[in-house]
């Protein structure tokens, strides 16, 4: 990825409003690791929710963000896996010249410079794994987390659709997030329903379904004694953290599983303070290891 001007930080809609601890820990981690994240206030919604309303409008929303980044000569780092999946897929679709021309025509009407296909989009965790490198992460570890055992939740959009993400990890058997977490010295759990979707996207229309999906993973990791579940997406976090109480109630169990973002875990290992990791926003307290 091109780092000359820094990376355009793509926050999306959920993180800045619903997942402050993610944004806080991500920004501070980036600083700690020497990764320059640049704000682009002109960015707008990636278009994910609009895919169910108007596919072309959704495409325009995503394309506009890509065009804005390209105009500024920056590649994009995203925090929400859904956003990154949509932006990456859009980038793939816009390799079709005819579609790209049509989209650029509309972008002009929106006052945005046309997009020519030169922006790379990656999720922050993927960026750390592939571009920053595990060795570089290990070098920054000051407090190895050897005593901790995490259950990593990839979510669906981190690795899929495979062709949009360049098949960088195997959706059936993903390992890159585990490796990232383990570079802190922590252990990760191999558990059976690792690929299970968090189900948040259907919460509005089929809450029961959503809760049942969430409960299965919460149960599994709780039963296996995970110190916390690690997530990489604000929607997954809502499903497992914000909804943890009602989900537990729906199956008659009280969960107490801390949900941490990978940025918080890496922050722990690289010596960030609790404030800097947004720990105040943890709904289930995560006791910092001694």
């Amino acid at each position: 990825m091109n780092k000359s001007k820094g990376y355009a930080l793509y926050l999306g809609c959920a993180t800045p409003v619903k997942a402050l601890k993610y944004e806080i820990s991500a920004r501070n981690l980036a600083k700690r690791l020497g990764v320059e994240l640049v704000d682009v206030p002109e960015f707008g919604c990636c278009g994910f929710p609009v895919k169910s309303m108007d596919p072309f409008a959704a495409l325009l929303m995503a394309a506009r963000n890509l065009a804005l980044a390209e105009e500024r000569g920056m590649d994009m780092i995203g925090l929400c896996t859904g956003c990154v999946a949509v932006l990456s897929e859009t980038k793939e679709s816009l390799k079709n010249g005819r579609l790209r021309d049509k989209v650029n025509e509309k972008l002009r009407l929106l006052g945005v410079k046309e997009y020519s296909g030169r922006v790379t989009v990656k999720h922050f965790a993927r960026f750390l794994f592939e571009d920053y490198g595990l060795d570089a992460v290990r070098e920054r570890v000051v407090a190895p987390l050897g005593s901790l055992n995490f259950g990593v939740h990839y979510g669906c959009h981190y690795t899929k659709p495979g062709h949009a993400h360049g098949h960088f990890d195997d959706p059936s058997c993903p390992t890159t997030l585990d490796e990232l977490i383990r570079s802190t010295g922590a252990k990760t759990i191999e558990y059976p329903n690792k690929n299970l979707c968090c189900g948040l996207t259907v919460m509005g229309v089929a809450e029961d379904l959503s809760f049942r999906l969430a409960s299965e993973k919460l149960e599994c990791l709780s039963n296996r004694g995970a110190d916390a579940m690690v997530v990489a997406c604000p929607s997954c976090c809502i499903a497992y953290e914000n909804n943890q109480k009602p989900v537990g109630r729906s199956i008659g169990r009280t969960f107490n599983l801390p949900i941490l973002y990978f940025t918080q875990v890496l922050g722990l290992a690289t010596g960030l303070s609790e404030d800097d990791m947004g720990f105040e926003f943890n709904r289930i307290a995560f006791p910092r290891p001694l």
């Binding site: 959920a14 409003v17 707008g44 596919p55 506009r64 259907v202 049942r212 999906l213």
Partner: protein, 146 residues
């Protein structure tokens, strides 16, 4: 019923091996939701039935089906297209209608209230615009000659 948004060529190749439904999480918990059945129904002209039903809203867009389909059918995309068709004709969930409202008014899926911005300020984060017509403009531009 216009259905030009669906890639019919690839869709015709589905011969209902069921691999999509076999790996579908919503299907596991709610057998009435069967992606391979949905594809078949489109093929036999039961599009209307699909657009008025609630099955198409149960897809969690996890992409497992699309990744593994031997015919390379983008099942998830088809589900999205079906939803968009339903939405276009006014058949939609309340949630989605509400989401469109928020997007049109604020340009965001989750609106940023003054309280949210106060929290952000406290945490040392840049503020978010509390209202924006961006999405409304995009919808308008997309509608023209679409």
């Amino acid at each position: 019923m216009d259905s030009e948004l669906i890639d019919r060529e690839k869709l015709k190749c589905c011969h209902h091996c069921g691999k999509c439904s076999s790996g579908c999480e919503p299907n596991r918990l709610d057998p009435s939701f069967q992606p391979h059945q949905i594809l078949h129904l489109i093929g036999v002209g039961a599009l209307d039935e699909l657009l008025t039903g609630d099955a198409i809203w149960k897809c969690t867009t996890c992409f497992t089906c699309s990744e593994r389909c031997p015919q390379g059918i983008a099942v998830t995309d088809i589900l999205w297209r079906l939803r968009a068709l339903a939405f276009r004709s006014g058949r939609t969930s309340e949630l989605l209608a509400a989401q469109k409202d928020v997007l049109l008014k604020t340009g965001r899926l989750y609106a940023a209230s003054p309280l949210d911005n106060k929290k952000r300020e406290k945490a040392g984060l840049p503020p978010l615009p509390e209202g924006s017509s961006l999405v409304a403009r995009i919808f308008k531009v997309s509608d023209e000659d679409e």
